[in-house]
């Protein structure tokens, strides 16, 4: 009898960390959903790492075209970075508001996040349009191809994130803070924070290292 009890305890505490949970059962849907989305985000980051690797290899192959230091504007990048950082913060505020079911702070946080995301996208789009207008489009050199695909891919993710953000606001407006809406909100917050992590890599590797070389 005591043997089985010990075996059961060992099973409940496989790493001997002193926290015994008797028959916890399957994880809740909230955990399963968020964990699955976390794995997706990691695979997304792996995909971005391929674009980063391509950029690292091709950043010197300018084919007579402009190099990074000639086309990057530090000031714009700094504004974009601050926008994304602050939007990550307000997104966190909105998810706290969703957890405590406070509509006013939720809408406020999401609206500010949306505006900051749109400012980011506007600056990035104008930068791209300006480069293409000067004849430095993605077909000019291997460096510009890798630059446009990496930064453009991140921009597409942010665009998708803004659309998702608007649908989250609409869902809370129409359905309230239901359990399934809260799960989607948690996934959205994860997505938005992960985009910010990718942007840290982009501004460090592409813009700052790229203009240093």
């Amino acid at each position: 009898m005591s043997m089985t009890a010990t075996a059961g305890r060992a099973h409940a505490d496989p790493h001997h960390i002193g926290l015994v949970v008797e028959h916890p059962g399957p994880a809740s849907k909230r955990i399963v959903t968020a964990y699955g989305f976390w794995v997706f985000l990691l695979s997304d980051i792996v995909m971005f790492s391929c674009f980063f690797a391509a950029y690292a290899v091709l950043s010197g192959q300018t084919a007579g075209g402009p190099s990074g230091s000639e086309i990057f504007e530090q000031r714009n990048v700094a504004i974009e970075t601050v926008c994304l950082l602050l939007s990550s913060f307000t997104c966190g505020m909105a998810s706290i508001a969703a957890d405590v079911r406070n509509r006013f702070w939720f809408y406020l946080g999401m609206t500010v996040t949306c505006v900051l995301g749109l400012i980011f996208l506007t600056i990035e789009f104008r930068e791209f349009a300006d480069l293409v207008a000067r004849g430095y489009g993605p077909s000019r050199s291997a460096f510009l191809t890798s630059f446009f695909s990496l930064v453009g891919c991140h921009g597409l993710h942010v665009s998708a994130g803004v659309l998702w953000l608007l649908t989250m606001m609409a869902q809370v407006f129409a359905k309230g803070f239901r359990a399934d809406v809260l799960r989607r909100m948690m996934c959205f917050a994860l997505f938005w924070h992960a985009l910010d992590i990718v942007w840290v890599g982009v501004f460090s590797v592409v813009y700052l290292l790229g203009s240093a070389v």
């Binding site: 994880a27 955990i31 976390w38 690292a56 290899v57 950082l85 460090s204 290292l209």
Partner: protein, 129 residues
Amino acid sequence: MSDQMHVRTGHDLAPGEEEQHSVGERVLGYVVGLGLALVLTATSFFIAGTDLVWQPSIPVALIVLAIAQMGVHLVFFLHITTGPDNTNNVLALAFGLLVVFLVVGGTVWIMGHLNANMPPMDQIMPMRK
């Protein structure tokens, strides 16, 4: 104490989920994260444009600052910790990082050697004729 532990660790934590905290503590966590991230970002932009430091150290400094900032984001915004209720999330992250380092490190390593061992383009063109 031990009763509390039982309640708290009834389940793992989902990624992005914090342990039970009051709203004030959670907001404070985000504020600290935002402050650290802003300081690291400002340092990056300052380091990139300055000539106060030894120039060859700048790329290394930028990469270290970027990794530090990613760590800040993971801890304060995504709430990935080393707690026992976070084991699955950390394991998934570790595997993701392994793949990222294999892809980026392997590519840079191999392509760097290829570049170093390849004759310049004007010598290759006559060979292809």
